[in-house]
Subunit: 360 residues, 2 copies
Amino acid sequence: MKRVFNFSAGPAVLPEEVLKEAANEMLNYKGIGMSVMEMSHRSKEFEEILESAKSDLSDLLKISSDYEIVFIQGGASSVFSMVPLNFSENKISDYILTGQWAQKAYDEATRYTKANIIASSKDENYSYIPDCTNLTVTKNADYVYICENNTIYGTKFKTLPDTKGKPLIADLSSCILSEPMDVEKYAMFFAGAQKNIGPAGVTLAVINKELLKRTPLAETPTMMRFSTHVKANSLYNTPPTYGIYLCGKVFKWLKKEGGLSVMKEKNERKASLLYDYLDESTLFKGTVKREDRSLMNAPFITGTKELDEKFIQEAKEAGLVNLKGHRSVGGMRASIYNAMPLEGVETLVEFMKKFERENR
Amino acid sequence: MKRVFNFSAGPAVLPEEVLKEAANEMLNYKGIGMSVMEMSHRSKEFEEILESAKSDLSDLLKISSDYEIVFIQGGASSVFSMVPLNFSENKISDYILTGQWAQKAYDEATRYTKANIIASSKDENYSYIPDCTNLTVTKNADYVYICENNTIYGTKFKTLPDTKGKPLIADLSSCILSEPMDVEKYAMFFAGAQKNIGPAGVTLAVINKELLKRTPLAETPTMMRFSTHVKANSLYNTPPTYGIYLCGKVFKWLKKEGGLSVMKEKNERKASLLYDYLDESTLFKGTVKREDRSLMNAPFITGTKELDEKFIQEAKEAGLVNLKGHRSVGGMRASIYNAMPLEGVETLVEFMKKFERENR
């Protein structure tokens, strides 16, 4: 049976090769007579899976030994609480509002700290990234927080904000591994796996050891202390073993594909194909300020709800699925993560052209 | 390649049938052209998966509409914090100590409440269940907490404690679904999936609606509020979709097997086979007081470390794996969850008999 082109914002398309390997190993992993799912997280085999995942990720992102890598649970939404709980010294924090997820992180910070909004693009429904070249960073702020790529709105920070020396903490859920990054610029970053890393249920956090020296607030639950997971090498309690195994497979696939420079080229080619067409189309229109466009999530509209719906329906029938935009933006959204092949975007653009001809 | 008999305490053996189905559906779930892993958690298909899982679980455990069912993340260890954070009114709680997991739950409660230990079997390394027929329950205690089956020590409450009218909250991680239960006796119960429900990374919680009326402590993170997950029907953020899908398959398998009365019979037959042999053996010896023996986890010893190690090694070579006991008890432990076939226990007992003859 044919697979579709799946433009879901997350959980999202995974490399077919990874899924095939997982299916083949489902009942018997490397001849040990059991599934990875059935394996003790304290077993030699699982330790190898975990260590390979960590070392392949370090290779891909060039993570130095100044950072700790942990795989945790609860999604980015849990990290929204963990950031203020773990990294508050003065209980003052600065947030840049670029969408719903940054807002939720900010809301959670207000529970524990005096959280400030030091820049925002709420005035234009988050369709751009605010100028962050000369921010008024709060004097004793414990950190500056951003959501680097905004899945819902399709924006991305192309330049990181000047935090005036404060630690930068970033949610990279929808852009991690899409291109090379300079890890040293971040005190901490994290990502839910279900977009560019693996299946839902795993959250990746990479934290500078200096930041980890901060004392969590007294009320921080044990499982929400980063130190709990760092000290136990992500094995304090049973981790989402099968999810980590799949993330590891995705890391190996990325290395085989040529690493993040190659992924960046491929992703830019895919995104250009779509954005160039959006710029020349007389029917479809991108919703984001050009220079802030995401490489991963491209929202677009026709201008009328009826045509949007017609497009989504006909695209689905043509095997191009999950193109419905988020309700906050409307219209359509094509999420074109690493695992979306060029062919998928080519097929989409061809389909859009045909739709444009038929509905002009 | 042959599958082994896997006696792991968790993550643990899963029904082969479930794994086969999952492998077959890995690249294309029911002809929709994508894996369950790639599916939006807001899709019609995933909603069906979630609703079937909930309704099959309700059928199996006979859960009435007085209870809410949620699938969350973070393992039982996260629930250890969530219980005092969500269900404290007087900030007084009563715990019964029957092992390491109850201890961890208690420790977490001391962070937020005046937690009392009202019974304990620590004096004899948790090898029995304390008498709970006439407990001194604290006057204003918000709840009484137990770990009903103690994976490490191999004990189980055969009668629930008399809580003198206080709500009973129980960790059922290693005994849930092993036999029918009277849900109405609990204000709340929960379980990490990785023993008798599905893969690691999913936690099941079943909570009485009366208990849910309590106001969480102000410091409770959004993701640690049960109300967050109840209100959103486990879809507040992206849940561990693939894990829930597999749990759902296990529920269907249990129904097909005949439900929990049949499982109880099967589990009793498996456990009797092993315990009867332990009682007659002159080499192997169970470590638990007979009347408190778990149906799921059976620890046993030979009496010498050398023989224990030899047994574990030779058993492994014979395809009987993960029999090493927890370091707190030593020796061996056979975890014989629902998915362990009778044949596995028969093979184990035959192997033990042979080992006894050879090493008497």
